[in-house]
């Protein structure tokens, strides 16, 4: 099992220059947050509020213009550090590789011997229920299965921090629910820290320990809601009266920000 980690964002801000030098867009402003090791943290916010930018900064894919981000005490600044795995919204499975080779992709060239790679890939395929599809190409799989391939490809790297950028956005409602439970199982069994960006209030309320609500652009956290669900949670949560309270509270905050983002 991977050891847990903690993430600290301190006064993070970022500005994107507009093409052609005509001004700039401030995406993030004064984002400060601490995520405890082993925590499941969800981020919600209106469209264009900088959620994905924040995740890119957390992943080391983008250096923050202002402020500081640390993971396990070490600063992240534009380079993906060891121990961080990212699952993207878009299908990132490689169509020219089999499912097995997709999952093994990140392990090759890391000096691991073949038996170690085979063991890790086999375990990840087993965990994600993809063992019988190991020789298939992604084009032969459904959207949900392709996203599971991407999660398995991240899982084999044994990250201590999973970053997920709306990973289920393109999936139907039933598949989203099932994938949500898969994600909970993965979080419980690996002990990793999970940061999930989502547009779905229900998804955030069902999966996360805490939910950060972001303001309209420039994005910053305007409220953090703790769900206080037990670690061993199930679909029973959906019928719990507190589930309704959490989603109502989230919507209350998000509604005003969404209207502001729409210019109303």
């Amino acid at each position: 099992m991977a050891a847990s980690a903690s993430v600290v964002l301190d006064g993070v801000g970022h500005v994107f220059p507009v093409a052609g030098g005509r001004g700039a867009v401030r995406a993030l402003e004064q984002v400060s947050l601490t995520i405890a090791g082993g925590e499941f943290f969800a981020i919600i916010g209106p469209s264009g509020c900088g959620k994905s930018t924040l995740l890119d900064i957390l992943a080391g894919l983008l250096a923050p213009g202002e402020g500081r981000v640390t993971f396990d005490g070490a600063e992240i600044r534009g380079t993906v550090p060891d121990g961080i795995g990212v699952v993207f919204q878009d299908d990132a499975s490689f169509p020219w590789l089999s499912v097995w080779d997709n999952v093994a992709f990140g392990l090759r060239g890391r000096g691991l011997d073949k038996s170690e790679i085979a063991g890790r890939v086999g375990a990840a395929l087993d965990f994600m229920g993809l063992k019988e599809f190991a020789r298939h190409r992604p084009a032969q799989l459904s959207g949900g299965m392709r996203q599971r391939v991407c999660i398995a490809r991240t899982l084999v790297l044994r990250p201590r921090l999973f970053l997920l950028d709306e990973p289920f956005a393109a999936l139907d409602q039933q598949t989203r629910l099932l994938m949500g439970y898969e994600l909970l199982r993965l979080w419980r069994e690996t002990g990793a820290t999970v940061v999930l960006v989502t547009h779905s209030l229900d998804e955030a309320a069902m999966l996360a320990d805490r939910i950060g609500v972001m303001s309209s652009r420039p994005g910053r956290f305007i409220e953090t809601v703790a769900t206080e669900w037990p670690r061993e949670r199930s679909s029973q949560i959906l019928t719990d009266p507190r589930f309704g309270d959490v989603t109502s509270r989230l919507w209350e905050k998000l509604r005003a920000e969404s209207l502001r983002a729409m210019g109303r």
């Binding site: 878009d90 490689f94 084009a139 790297l157």
Partner: protein
């Protein structure tokens, strides 16, 4: 699907039958066109002639060299132009008008520079063939989803590994399409060069048969060449279909 196959087969049978009939009935002169059965006979005879086989071998090997060089230069050129937008902007007008240039007119110059023999033929072929690979590589690289580049960084791939493990495989169907096109350009350039100035090769053999009024042999050689080109293109199409199915 089955109906389309029957229509294709029926059209081919009617065309072949009409060709055979108009030649056998004497509606066209035998010095102009020979029946298909006579072309097949001549092609079989040519296939048993060691000199003609050597000519075929020389032409096919020249085309293979041209395609190999064009593929390498085209892929490297495409990747380089994609990597340096400034070079691409500078090269764009040239790329857009490349095939409008009378490249074959450079053949005498290439003979002067490279001497007589296979080398100027290869150079002419490469000039014709490489741009299709470069353009296909550029188009393929343009279509690569941005998330693949992010995946490369998350997997901490270096520049070279990103190109070899992600970018090139991702645009392999496009590159294969460009190479398939380069095969056609290579055949056109090599056969035309042999036809005009070479002393060996199937282009030269066809020209020789034409000039010595061996009409049946000329058509037999053309038929043999046509079968070769069609077989190579079908093979390329299968490779491309395999890559495209995987990348769909």
């Amino acid at each position: 699907m089955i109906r389309a196959r029957w229509i294709q087969l029926g059209t081919a049978v009617v065309a072949v039958g009409a060709l055979e009939l108009i030649c056998r009935l004497g509606w066209v002169r035998p010095t102009t066109l020979v029946p298909l059965s006579a072309m097949v006979q001549a092609a079989i005879a040519a296939a048993q002639d060691p000199d003609t086989l050597a000519d075929f071998g020389l032409t096919l090997s020249t085309v293979a060299i041209v395609v190999a060089i064009a593929a390498v230069l085209g892929v490297v050129g495409g990747v380089a132009l994609h990597a340096v937008p400034r070079w691409r902007r500078a090269a764009e007008p040239f790329i857009a008008t490349y095939y409008a240039l009378p490249l074959f007119a450079l053949y005498p110059l290439l003979v002067v520079v490279l001497g007589v023999g296979t080398t100027p033929i290869i150079a002419t072929g490469v000039l014709y063939a490489m741009m299709s690979v470069a353009m296909a590589t550029l188009a393929g690289l343009d279509r690569i989803p941005a998330v693949y580049r992010k995946a490369a960084r998350v997997n901490r791939l270096g520049r070279v590994a990103t190109v070899t493990r992600i970018l090139v495989p991702a645009c392999a169907p496009d590159i294969a399409g460009g190479i398939a096109l380069s095969v056609s350009y290579a055949f056109v350039a090599v056969i035309a060069s042999e036809f005009l100035l070479a002393s060996h090769g199937i282009g030269h053999a066809i020209a020789d048969a034409y000039e010595t009024f061996q009409t049946q042999r000329m058509y037999g050689l053309m038929l043999g060449l046509g079968v070769c080109v069609v077989a190579i293109n079908l093979g390329m199409a299968r490779v491309r279909a395999h890559l495209t199915t995987g990348a769909a």
